[in-house]
Protein backbone atom coordinates (compact mmCIF):
# COMPACT_ATOMS: atom_id res chain seq x y z
CA UNK A 1 0.00 0.00 0.00
CA UNK A 2 1.26 3.48 -0.81
CA UNK A 3 1.77 6.05 1.94
CA UNK A 4 -0.92 8.20 0.32
CA UNK A 5 -3.47 5.36 0.48
CA UNK A 6 -2.52 4.71 4.10
CA UNK A 7 -3.27 8.31 5.05
CA UNK A 8 -6.59 8.34 3.20
CA UNK A 9 -7.62 5.10 5.00
CA UNK A 10 -6.42 6.56 8.32
CA UNK A 11 -8.33 9.82 7.79
CA UNK A 12 -11.54 7.96 6.90
CA UNK A 13 -11.27 5.61 9.88
CA UNK A 14 -10.30 8.29 12.43
CA UNK A 15 -12.77 10.81 11.00
CA UNK A 16 -15.78 8.49 11.09
CA UNK A 17 -14.87 7.26 14.59
CA UNK A 18 -14.49 10.82 15.90
CA UNK A 19 -17.73 12.07 14.35
CA UNK A 20 -19.67 9.11 15.80
CA UNK A 21 -18.51 10.18 19.25
CA UNK A 22 -18.55 13.96 18.91
CA UNK A 23 -21.76 14.67 16.96
CA UNK A 24 -24.23 12.94 19.33
CA UNK A 25 -22.21 14.22 22.31
CA UNK A 26 -22.75 17.87 21.35
CA UNK A 27 -26.19 17.59 19.72
CA UNK A 28 -28.36 15.04 21.49
CA UNK A 29 -29.74 15.44 24.97
CA UNK A 30 -32.59 12.91 24.99
CA UNK A 31 -32.80 9.14 24.61
CA UNK A 32 -33.59 7.35 21.36
CA UNK A 33 -37.33 6.71 21.45
CA UNK A 34 -37.65 3.77 19.03
CA UNK A 35 -37.50 0.49 20.89
CA UNK A 36 -36.54 -1.31 17.68
CA UNK A 37 -33.46 0.83 17.01
CA UNK A 38 -32.41 0.77 20.66
CA UNK A 39 -32.58 -3.03 20.51
CA UNK A 40 -30.67 -3.08 17.24
CA UNK A 41 -27.91 -0.92 18.71
CA UNK A 42 -27.76 -3.05 21.84
CA UNK A 43 -26.99 -6.17 19.78
CA UNK A 44 -24.51 -4.55 17.38
CA UNK A 45 -21.33 -4.71 19.52
CA UNK A 46 -21.72 -8.43 20.20
CA UNK A 47 -22.69 -9.50 16.68
CA UNK A 48 -19.80 -7.47 15.23
CA UNK A 49 -17.26 -9.01 17.59
CA UNK A 50 -18.64 -12.53 17.00
CA UNK A 51 -18.51 -12.13 13.21
CA UNK A 52 -14.96 -10.78 13.48
CA UNK A 53 -13.79 -13.63 15.71
CA UNK A 54 -15.33 -16.71 14.08
CA UNK A 55 -14.05 -18.18 11.84
CA UNK A 56 -11.12 -15.68 11.55
CA UNK A 57 -9.49 -16.96 14.78
CA UNK A 58 -9.05 -20.40 13.16
CA UNK A 59 -6.77 -18.84 10.54
CA UNK A 60 -4.92 -16.40 12.78
CA UNK A 61 -2.24 -18.84 13.91
CA UNK A 62 0.24 -21.26 12.31
CA UNK A 63 -2.16 -24.21 12.52
CA UNK A 64 -5.93 -24.51 12.46
CA UNK A 65 -5.73 -26.85 15.47
CA UNK A 66 -4.24 -24.16 17.70
CA UNK A 67 -6.83 -21.62 16.52
CA UNK A 68 -9.74 -23.94 17.32
CA UNK A 69 -8.25 -24.87 20.71
CA UNK A 70 -7.64 -21.19 21.54
CA UNK A 71 -11.31 -20.42 20.90
CA UNK A 72 -12.41 -23.33 23.11
CA UNK A 73 -10.12 -22.39 26.02
CA UNK A 74 -11.09 -18.71 25.68
CA UNK A 75 -14.80 -19.59 25.92
CA UNK A 76 -14.14 -21.79 28.97
CA UNK A 77 -12.04 -19.06 30.59
CA UNK A 78 -14.83 -16.53 29.93
CA UNK A 79 -17.30 -18.85 31.65
CA UNK A 80 -14.95 -18.81 34.64
CA UNK A 81 -15.08 -14.97 34.57
CA UNK A 82 -11.35 -14.49 34.10
CA UNK A 83 -11.81 -11.02 32.60
CA UNK A 84 -10.42 -9.51 29.40
CA UNK A 85 -6.72 -9.83 30.09
CA UNK A 86 -7.04 -13.25 31.76
CA UNK A 87 -8.96 -14.76 28.84
CA UNK A 88 -6.48 -13.34 26.34
CA UNK A 89 -3.57 -14.82 28.30
CA UNK A 90 -5.28 -18.25 28.36
CA UNK A 91 -5.83 -18.12 24.58
CA UNK A 92 -2.21 -17.11 23.93
CA UNK A 93 -0.86 -19.86 26.19
CA UNK A 94 -3.01 -22.41 24.38
CA UNK A 95 -1.47 -21.44 21.04
CA UNK A 96 2.00 -21.33 22.56
CA UNK A 97 1.57 -24.90 23.83
CA UNK A 98 0.14 -26.34 20.63
CA UNK A 99 2.24 -24.56 18.01
CA UNK A 100 5.36 -24.03 20.12
CA UNK A 101 5.77 -26.93 22.54
CA UNK A 102 3.98 -29.90 20.93
CA UNK A 103 6.20 -29.97 17.79
CA UNK A 104 9.29 -29.99 20.05
CA UNK A 105 8.01 -33.04 21.95
CA UNK A 106 7.42 -35.06 18.80
CA UNK A 107 10.56 -34.15 16.89
Amino acid sequence: MSLRDYFVFLTVMAGVTYLLRAVPFILLKGKIKSRFWRSFLAYVPYTVLAAMTVPAIFYSTDSKTSGVCALVTAVVASFCRLGLVGVAVVACCTVLCIDGLLPMLFL
Binding site: M13, A14, L49, A50, T53, P55, L84, G86, V87, C93
Partner: protein, 240 residues
Protein backbone atom coordinates in the same frame (compact mmCIF):
# COMPACT_ATOMS: atom_id res chain seq x y z
CA UNK B 1 -14.45 15.81 40.59
CA UNK B 2 -10.79 16.73 40.18
CA UNK B 3 -8.44 16.03 37.29
CA UNK B 4 -6.17 14.01 39.59
CA UNK B 5 -9.04 11.78 40.74
CA UNK B 6 -9.78 11.06 37.07
CA UNK B 7 -6.16 10.10 36.42
CA UNK B 8 -6.20 7.76 39.41
CA UNK B 9 -9.51 6.15 38.35
CA UNK B 10 -8.17 5.67 34.82
CA UNK B 11 -5.11 3.65 35.89
CA UNK B 12 -6.65 0.13 35.68
CA UNK B 13 -8.15 0.95 32.27
CA UNK B 14 -4.77 2.16 31.07
CA UNK B 15 -3.09 -1.08 32.13
CA UNK B 16 -5.73 -3.18 30.39
CA UNK B 17 -5.45 -1.09 27.23
CA UNK B 18 -1.68 -1.54 27.16
CA UNK B 19 -2.16 -5.31 27.02
CA UNK B 20 -4.85 -5.22 24.31
CA UNK B 21 -3.09 -2.69 22.11
CA UNK B 22 0.16 -4.66 22.40
CA UNK B 23 -1.50 -7.39 20.34
CA UNK B 24 -2.87 -4.78 17.93
CA UNK B 25 0.68 -3.49 17.47
CA UNK B 26 1.89 -7.00 16.66
CA UNK B 27 -0.94 -7.54 14.18
CA UNK B 28 -0.27 -4.18 12.55
CA UNK B 29 3.49 -4.69 12.31
CA UNK B 30 2.86 -7.40 9.72
CA UNK B 31 1.66 -4.72 7.32
CA UNK B 32 3.09 -1.35 8.42
CA UNK B 33 6.11 0.22 10.10
CA UNK B 34 5.85 0.81 13.87
CA UNK B 35 5.26 4.54 13.37
CA UNK B 36 2.28 4.03 11.06
CA UNK B 37 0.73 1.38 13.33
CA UNK B 38 1.09 3.61 16.40
CA UNK B 39 -0.47 6.53 14.53
CA UNK B 40 -3.61 4.41 13.95
CA UNK B 41 -3.99 3.89 17.71
CA UNK B 42 -3.25 7.54 18.54
CA UNK B 43 -5.94 8.80 16.19
CA UNK B 44 -8.67 6.17 16.78
CA UNK B 45 -8.63 4.79 20.35
CA UNK B 46 -10.94 1.88 19.52
CA UNK B 47 -10.10 -1.84 19.47
CA UNK B 48 -12.67 -3.62 17.32
CA UNK B 49 -12.83 -0.73 14.84
CA UNK B 50 -9.07 -0.54 14.43
CA UNK B 51 -8.77 -4.28 14.05
CA UNK B 52 -11.43 -4.37 11.32
CA UNK B 53 -9.80 -1.31 9.74
CA UNK B 54 -6.46 -3.09 9.68
CA UNK B 55 -8.05 -6.09 7.97
CA UNK B 56 -9.55 -3.80 5.32
CA UNK B 57 -6.23 -1.98 4.76
CA UNK B 58 -4.39 -5.31 4.51
CA UNK B 59 -6.95 -6.65 2.02
CA UNK B 60 -5.71 -5.74 -1.47
CA UNK B 61 -9.34 -5.29 -2.57
CA UNK B 62 -10.30 -3.07 0.37
CA UNK B 63 -11.82 0.30 -0.53
CA UNK B 64 -12.23 3.66 1.24
CA UNK B 65 -16.03 3.32 1.13
CA UNK B 66 -15.79 -0.10 2.75
CA UNK B 67 -13.59 1.43 5.46
CA UNK B 68 -16.11 4.21 6.10
CA UNK B 69 -19.11 1.86 6.32
CA UNK B 70 -17.35 -0.79 8.42
CA UNK B 71 -16.01 1.84 10.85
CA UNK B 72 -19.45 3.41 11.04
CA UNK B 73 -21.28 0.24 12.04
CA UNK B 74 -18.61 -1.22 14.29
CA UNK B 75 -18.25 2.06 16.21
CA UNK B 76 -21.91 3.06 16.14
CA UNK B 77 -22.22 2.04 19.79
CA UNK B 78 -20.07 5.06 20.73
CA UNK B 79 -22.93 7.28 19.57
CA UNK B 80 -25.21 5.58 22.08
CA UNK B 81 -22.65 6.11 24.82
CA UNK B 82 -22.17 9.74 23.77
CA UNK B 83 -25.93 10.32 24.05
CA UNK B 84 -26.01 8.66 27.44
CA UNK B 85 -22.93 10.54 28.66
CA UNK B 86 -24.31 13.88 27.47
CA UNK B 87 -27.03 13.51 30.10
CA UNK B 88 -24.58 12.84 32.92
CA UNK B 89 -22.14 15.71 32.42
CA UNK B 90 -21.91 18.87 34.51
CA UNK B 91 -23.60 22.03 33.10
CA UNK B 92 -20.26 23.76 32.42
CA UNK B 93 -19.09 20.86 30.21
CA UNK B 94 -19.56 23.05 27.12
CA UNK B 95 -19.55 22.34 23.40
CA UNK B 96 -15.88 23.19 22.89
CA UNK B 97 -14.79 20.90 25.73
CA UNK B 98 -17.04 18.14 24.36
CA UNK B 99 -15.42 18.43 20.91
CA UNK B 100 -12.01 18.23 22.55
CA UNK B 101 -12.74 15.24 24.81
CA UNK B 102 -15.13 13.20 22.62
CA UNK B 103 -12.27 10.87 21.65
CA UNK B 104 -12.32 9.59 25.24
CA UNK B 105 -15.72 7.94 24.79
CA UNK B 106 -14.61 4.30 24.78
CA UNK B 107 -16.49 1.38 26.32
CA UNK B 108 -14.53 1.39 29.58
CA UNK B 109 -13.97 5.14 30.06
CA UNK B 110 -17.64 5.76 29.33
CA UNK B 111 -18.75 3.04 31.76
CA UNK B 112 -16.56 4.43 34.54
CA UNK B 113 -17.63 8.03 33.91
CA UNK B 114 -21.39 7.37 34.01
CA UNK B 115 -21.05 5.19 37.12
CA UNK B 116 -19.95 8.28 39.12
CA UNK B 117 -22.49 9.57 41.62
CA UNK B 118 -21.87 13.26 40.88
CA UNK B 119 -22.11 14.97 37.46
CA UNK B 120 -19.06 14.38 35.28
CA UNK B 121 -16.92 17.51 34.92
CA UNK B 122 -14.64 18.17 31.95
CA UNK B 123 -11.60 18.12 34.27
CA UNK B 124 -12.47 14.70 35.65
CA UNK B 125 -13.22 13.25 32.22
CA UNK B 126 -9.95 14.65 30.84
CA UNK B 127 -8.08 13.06 33.76
CA UNK B 128 -9.88 9.78 33.17
CA UNK B 129 -8.71 9.74 29.53
CA UNK B 130 -5.01 10.37 30.19
CA UNK B 131 -3.68 6.96 31.22
CA UNK B 132 -5.94 4.90 28.90
CA UNK B 133 -4.76 7.06 25.98
CA UNK B 134 -1.11 6.68 26.96
CA UNK B 135 -1.59 2.95 27.61
CA UNK B 136 -3.31 2.39 24.27
CA UNK B 137 -0.70 4.32 22.26
CA UNK B 138 2.40 3.01 24.04
CA UNK B 139 1.07 -0.56 24.03
CA UNK B 140 0.67 -0.39 20.27
CA UNK B 141 4.16 1.05 19.91
CA UNK B 142 5.70 -1.70 22.05
CA UNK B 143 3.72 -4.40 20.25
CA UNK B 144 4.74 -3.11 16.83
CA UNK B 145 8.43 -2.86 17.78
CA UNK B 146 8.43 -6.24 19.56
CA UNK B 147 6.59 -7.83 16.65
CA UNK B 148 9.81 -7.35 14.66
CA UNK B 149 12.08 -8.64 17.44
CA UNK B 150 10.16 -11.41 19.25
CA UNK B 151 10.55 -15.02 18.05
CA UNK B 152 7.87 -16.21 15.62
CA UNK B 153 6.51 -18.73 18.15
CA UNK B 154 5.61 -15.89 20.53
CA UNK B 155 4.12 -13.46 17.98
CA UNK B 156 2.09 -16.37 16.59
CA UNK B 157 0.64 -16.97 20.07
CA UNK B 158 0.02 -13.27 20.72
CA UNK B 159 -1.96 -13.09 17.47
CA UNK B 160 -5.01 -14.56 19.24
CA UNK B 161 -4.89 -12.11 22.18
CA UNK B 162 -7.39 -9.71 20.66
CA UNK B 163 -9.75 -12.53 19.69
CA UNK B 164 -9.45 -13.73 23.29
CA UNK B 165 -10.59 -10.28 24.47
CA UNK B 166 -13.52 -10.36 22.06
CA UNK B 167 -14.56 -13.75 23.42
CA UNK B 168 -14.28 -12.37 26.96
CA UNK B 169 -16.66 -9.56 26.02
CA UNK B 170 -19.22 -11.62 24.11
CA UNK B 171 -19.47 -14.86 26.11
CA UNK B 172 -20.58 -13.37 29.48
CA UNK B 173 -23.27 -11.44 27.62
CA UNK B 174 -24.40 -14.63 25.81
CA UNK B 175 -24.58 -16.36 29.17
CA UNK B 176 -26.64 -13.56 30.73
CA UNK B 177 -29.07 -12.96 27.86
CA UNK B 178 -30.64 -15.60 25.64
CA UNK B 179 -31.52 -13.10 22.84
CA UNK B 180 -27.86 -12.05 22.65
CA UNK B 181 -26.91 -15.73 22.48
CA UNK B 182 -29.25 -16.21 19.50
CA UNK B 183 -28.09 -13.02 17.75
CA UNK B 184 -24.44 -13.97 18.20
CA UNK B 185 -25.03 -17.49 16.84
CA UNK B 186 -26.77 -16.00 13.79
CA UNK B 187 -23.81 -13.68 13.23
CA UNK B 188 -21.39 -16.62 13.47
CA UNK B 189 -23.48 -18.71 11.04
CA UNK B 190 -23.46 -15.80 8.53
CA UNK B 191 -19.73 -15.39 9.02
CA UNK B 192 -19.15 -19.07 8.22
CA UNK B 193 -21.33 -18.70 5.12
CA UNK B 194 -19.15 -15.86 3.81
CA UNK B 195 -16.07 -17.97 4.38
CA UNK B 196 -17.24 -21.25 2.87
CA UNK B 197 -20.16 -20.67 0.45
CA UNK B 198 -18.52 -20.23 -2.98
CA UNK B 199 -21.16 -17.75 -4.23
CA UNK B 200 -20.34 -15.39 -1.31
CA UNK B 201 -16.57 -15.70 -1.43
CA UNK B 202 -16.20 -12.55 -3.56
CA UNK B 203 -17.45 -10.33 -0.72
CA UNK B 204 -14.60 -8.48 1.00
CA UNK B 205 -13.83 -8.98 4.70
CA UNK B 206 -15.17 -5.62 5.82
CA UNK B 207 -18.51 -5.96 4.09
CA UNK B 208 -18.90 -9.54 5.29
CA UNK B 209 -18.56 -8.32 8.91
CA UNK B 210 -21.06 -5.51 8.31
CA UNK B 211 -23.64 -7.78 6.69
CA UNK B 212 -23.31 -10.46 9.38
CA UNK B 213 -23.75 -7.89 12.16
CA UNK B 214 -26.65 -6.14 10.42
CA UNK B 215 -28.57 -9.35 9.72
CA UNK B 216 -28.07 -10.72 13.23
CA UNK B 217 -28.83 -7.42 15.01
CA UNK B 218 -31.93 -6.66 12.89
CA UNK B 219 -33.29 -10.17 13.55
CA UNK B 220 -32.48 -9.74 17.23
CA UNK B 221 -34.27 -6.39 17.37
CA UNK B 222 -37.29 -7.77 15.47
CA UNK B 223 -37.76 -10.91 17.54
CA UNK B 224 -36.29 -9.92 20.91
CA UNK B 225 -36.78 -6.18 21.50
CA UNK B 226 -35.00 -5.06 24.66
CA UNK B 227 -36.95 -3.95 27.71
CA UNK B 228 -38.38 -0.45 27.67
CA UNK B 229 -35.94 1.05 30.16
CA UNK B 230 -32.43 0.70 28.71
CA UNK B 231 -29.82 0.53 31.46
CA UNK B 232 -26.87 2.81 30.94
CA UNK B 233 -24.43 0.30 32.31
CA UNK B 234 -25.22 -2.46 29.83
CA UNK B 235 -22.05 -1.67 27.87
CA UNK B 236 -19.73 -2.32 30.78
CA UNK B 237 -16.99 -4.82 30.29
CA UNK B 238 -16.37 -4.13 26.62
CA UNK B 239 -13.07 -3.37 25.04
CA UNK B 240 -12.16 0.07 23.80
Amino acid sequence: MKFTKGVKDGLPIGLGYFAVSFSFGIAGSKFFSWALVTLISMTNLTSAGQFAGLQIMADAAGTFIEMAIATFFINLRYSLMAISLSQKVAPNFGTFKRLLLATGITDEIYALAVSQASPVTARYFAGLMVLPYIGWSSGTLCGAVCGEILPAVVTNALGVALYGMFVAIVVPQMKASRPTLVAVLIAIACSFAFKFVPALSGVTVGFAIIICALVASLLGAAFFPIKDEPDDNSEQGEAA
